[in-house]
């Protein structure tokens, strides 16, 4: 019974924790402009994150060490540093976007300007990272993030033409008013949002925090293979509801408030209140995850003690990094930069950093010195190789597409 609850809780938190500011904004933007015609990018991204999260979780469970703890040791300091700079830079950018996302969510319900919320949100995030237990952060915010299921309910309540939505989702097409370059730009952005590097940083380091062993592999796989795809369905529900309500009006999503309008149309005040609760939980949870991920990756690279499973006094460097990045993120946001723009940039640069994150995972998950008999099978390696090619294509195309389309204009 205890194991059943552990599996159920893991799946639920995986669903609730899957969506972050990048998924919220990008899926709503894409739904409002392209309908579900770019949905395959989300599906491909979700399959990819499942594949590599399982590998990194397996490495953590069997070796007792986080994947990126092993990168420097296995691939040398140069590749390790490249991996650290690329992936950590994007994760820090995402951290800024998530804190901004919490502030925007609070602005939505209070009408108090987001800039006034930023210091308080940053303080709350830091306090949670410093004082709260890892399981409390993961479970409470993950479960509250399930509020975003309201988008799936809203989509069902709106009564769309399901056949038309399904047709859009399986057909490679675009509205006449959009260009193929813009279509490709958003496909790469959605792919980057689904496979954002911090998810595997956090997943593998979280496995060490929770002291996974080889006995936990089944629970870990249930979380990944059930929780993540259901989280991906939430992303599609956000895009679908935007496609049904916003696209016919020609409304382009530039704010978090516009993301919630389809829920208001379908479910009224209570629906919006639940959606905003979901926004706050999802962005706050992701802020904690990205903040921890930056701390994890830096501490793991330099070989310092890290993690929430030791007292802060035993991991001073790790907690100092958490404090400094929180201050830096707040400082960036207080310049008045639009968190939505930061989000858009972070998902594109996520795509650029993908090879630096996922290539080392594939190498380590094939090394019997670390995972013993649990090395990748043939099918996993075949899929991993196919995905590395996809990831390379997305990484190479991301910045040229951003320039050509003027960030998707």
């Amino acid at each position: 019974m205890k194991r059943f609850f552990a599996v159920a809780l893991g799946i639920l938190t995986a669903i609730g924790g899957f969506v972050d500011i990048g998924d919220l904004v990008t899926n709503a933007q894409v739904g409002a402009r392209f309908g579900l015609s770019i949905a395959p990018a989300v599906i491909v991204g979700v399959v990819g994150i499942c594949l590599f999260a399982e590998m990194s979780g397996r490495v953590a469970a069997v070796s007792g060490r986080a994947t990126f703890d092993l990168v420097r040791e296995r691939l040398g300091p140069r590749i390790g540093l490249l991996n650290l700079v690329g992936s950590m830079g994007v994760t820090f950018l995402t951290f800024i976007a998530e804190i901004g996302g919490v502030a925007l969510s609070l602005q939505l319900v209070t009408s108090v300007n987001e800039l006034l919320w930023v210091p308080f949100v940053a303080l709350a995030v830091w306090l949670l990272l410093w004082r709260a237990k890892f399981s409390a952060i993961e479970n409470v915010l993950g479960l509250l993030g399930l509020s975003l299921i309201v988008f799936a309910v809203a989509l069902w309540q709106l009564g769309p033409d399901w056949g038309e939505l399904a047709h859009q989702a399986v057909t490679v097409d675009k509205p006449a008013s959009e260009s193929w370059a813009t279509w490709c730009y958003y496909a790469v952005a959605l792919f980057g949002a689904a496979m954002t590097p911090y998810e595997v940083f956090f997943f593998s380091s979280g496995g060490v925090e929770e002291r996974w062993t080889a006995k936990d592999l089944a629970v870990m796989r249930a979380n990944v293979f059930i929780g993540f795809p259901l989280g991906g369905l939430l992303s599609l529900a956000i895009a679908g509801s935007a496609a049904v309500v916003l696209q016919p009006h020609g409304i382009a999503v530039d704010t978090l408030g516009e993301t919630a309008l389809p829920v208001a149309e379908a479910l009224g005040k209570i629906g919006v209140a639940i959606a905003v609760l979901g926004f706050v939980a999802a962005t706050f949870g992701a802020a904690c995850e990205t903040g921890l991920s930056v701390g994890y990756s830096l501490a793991q690279y330099v070989g310092a003690q890290w993690g929430k499973y030791v007292r802060p006094q035993a991991a001073v460097a790790f907690h100092t990094v958490l404090l400094l990045i929180t201050l830096a993120a707040a400082a960036v946001l207080l310049t008045g930069v639009d968190p939505i723009v930061v989000t858009e940039i972070s998902v594109v640069f996520s795509a650029v950093a993908l090879p630096l994150t996922y290539f080392p995972i594939l190498v380590i998950a094939n090394d019997p010195d670390y995972v013993g008999e649990h090395v990748n099978g043939r099918v996993t390696n075949l899929l991993g190789t196919v995905y590395l090619v996809l990831i390379l294509v997305a990484a190479v195309a991301a910045i040229p597409l951003m320039v050509i389309t003027g960030m998707g204009q």
């Binding site: 319900v109 009408s111 409304i251 382009a252 530039d254 149309e265 009224g268 005040k269 209570i270 905003v276």
Partner: protein, 156 residues
């Protein structure tokens, strides 16, 4: 013979610095002076962004009149649209309209001004809770949205 220990003669360097400065001065001119094609692209973008915000406020008014938005979220949405309109208008107005686009510039400026004014009125009505004005404002916003789309098509 032009090179001296792998470097360039000071005269060559001076010319290059002067060219760079001239290029920077030309490209950094305020207001910028785009070609007619570039100006039309910017104008279409401004009209599209404005139409999106106008439709957003119309939808917000509709939802607010049906009491489907909690707290002050309608007010926040209207303010955000108003700010976005200001940015769209400012981006275009900072460009010098090229010769031959005077009529289009006048029409586009007029439409952007009407949109800013109407959205402002909608924000005031929402903040004041003046529900009696919602239907009329919404109808005017939708009419304006049609005008914005028509002008955008005209500029193609």
């Amino acid at each position: 013979m032009n090179r001296r220990r792998g470097g360039y003669r000071p005269g060559v360097i001076r010319v290059r610095v002067a060219v760079c400065c001239a290029l920077l001065a030309l490209t950094g001119c305020v207001p910028s002076e785009p070609s007619a094609t570039d100006w039309r692209t910017s104008a279409r973008q401004a009209l599209e962004d404005t139409a999106s915000e106008v439709e957003t406020v119309a939808l917000v008014l509709d939802l607010e009149s049906g009491e489907r938005l909690p707290g002050r979220s309608a007010q926040v949405a209207a303010v955000e649209s108003e700010e976005a309109l200001g940015k769209a208008e400012q981006t275009l107005s900072s460009q010098q309209p090229p010769a031959g686009t005077e009529r289009d510039d006048g029409t586009v400026s007029d439409l952007l001004g009407r949109a800013a004014d109407l959205v402002r009125q909608a924000r005031i009505a929402i903040t004041a809770g003046d529900e009696g004005a919602y239907d009329d404002l919404r109808a005017r916003l939708l009419d304006l949205s049609d005008d914005l789309d028509a002008e955008r098509a005209e500029l193609r």
